[in-house]
Symmetry: C2
Subunit: 235 residues, 2 copies
């Protein structure tokens, strides 16, 4: 009976040793079966860790948004025989990928689930924002339609003011600048906005200002992965 | 002009190499000034990383819930001269400690803020739960008074059902079993509860079951640090 290991990946172009602990690297190299969205990228990741790693001895299972129950069953069958590692395309598995479904299934069938430490852009953005970390929400993508989006932003701002809650969200990178403009138009001048872009890479950009101040700044976030956090400070 | 580094700590009795990347360890050993809640524990942490590290050459600033504006100013003055590392008592700084105040101040004065990768019990519990990672809230401690606590639990359950949101909270370890009993009495039988205890240590315990099933289990969570997550599955 195997264990399901949740394996971190880098967040872009970063040395492994900067973001993944060495014992986690050893654990990854000891695994024989991997489940991921894109096995080709998983092979590349393993080669980045160790150029001489014997990839032919390994089994790669595909797990993506089109996966059927049969695909999940294949992962579960592999788990009955040996340890399996789930790898995300970037960062921690199970946040923005189909890994969570396999984790849920593993629990249901009594397999141990072990999360391994690595970079999480959401968490790193949160701690670097300077906002409240005892009370925060990650909301994924905002609605696309302008009216719904404005309503969502105002709601997050209101909840932040009432509950002292940090509100975190993301956008498709090529729409980052549009979202930024919409926030400047929608949010109150005193509301704090933190933008964290290309976290852990040499191009990392992290700034926190009130909306009033952001109106005089142009953050370099066009087509780059970014995390947006807002917080309404107490008076 | 210095940079403010956000330095991870272990989550209990774990080897450094299992939870902190080697380049982060090097960065920590290169710093000369540290801000933390308890300088004694920070010295012990540095000695755990490197038994021969020359602690006498380092400056330790105290930053806790009783810190005054003058204490924060002392940290800011140190930052004007050199790099400063904020260390939490456990896990990532700025989540459940006064580090966030210094981070906010650093942003306001234009100092670069760089978060370093390490273990976050909240994030590891989330990915190991098998619940929705695209939409989640960390709510800190629940209210202590029974009636308010029941109301809060029901609210989190309702929000989870409406928004497919994972709801995460914590309790003072010696009250864990009481909270567990209150959840069994308050939440619906189908609601999923994930309990993650002593994460990353040899005693790690992570299980996800519906409330119905938890009624037949006794989780070993008495006086141990635990993260509770609930999620209402779709029909």
């Amino acid at each position: 009976m195997g264990t399901l290991y949740l394996i971190p990946n880098t967040l872009g172009d970063t040395p492994i040793a900067a973001v993944i602990p060495s014992e986690v690297v050893s654990k990854i190299l000891a695994l024989k079966v991997f489940a991921s969205e894109n096995p080709k990228n998983t092979r590349r990741f393993l080669r980045q860790i160790d150029r001489t790693h014997p990839l032919n001895d390994l089994q790669f299972l595909e797990l993506n948004e089109h996966s059927t129950d049969a695909d999940l069953d294949a992962c579960l069958n592999a788990l009955a025989q040996s340890d399996v590692g789930i790898i995300s395309e970037a960062g921690c598995p199970g946040i923005a990928d189909p890994g969570a479904q396999l984790v849920a299934l593993a629990h249901r069938h009594g397999y141990p689930v072990v999360p391994l430490v690595g970079p999480s852009s959401i968490l790193l953005a949160l701690i670097a924002s300077g906002f409240n970390g005892q009370n925060f929400s990650f909301n994924g993508y905002l609605p696309v339609k302008p009216a719904e989006r404005v309503r969502a932003l105002r709601n997050y701002e209101k909840q932040s003011a009432i509950e002292c809650r940090t509100q975190i969200f993301i956008e498709t990178p090529y729409r980052n600048l549009k979202l930024f403009e919409q926030m400047l138009q929608t949010l109150r001048p005193d509301t704090l906005l933190s933008i964290a872009c290309d976290i852990t890479t040499p191009e990392e950009y992290i700034r926190t200002y009130p909306i009033r101040e952001w109106k005089r700044q142009s953050p370099p976030i066009d087509r780059r992965p970014a995390i947006f956090s807002i917080y309404v400070p107490h008076r």
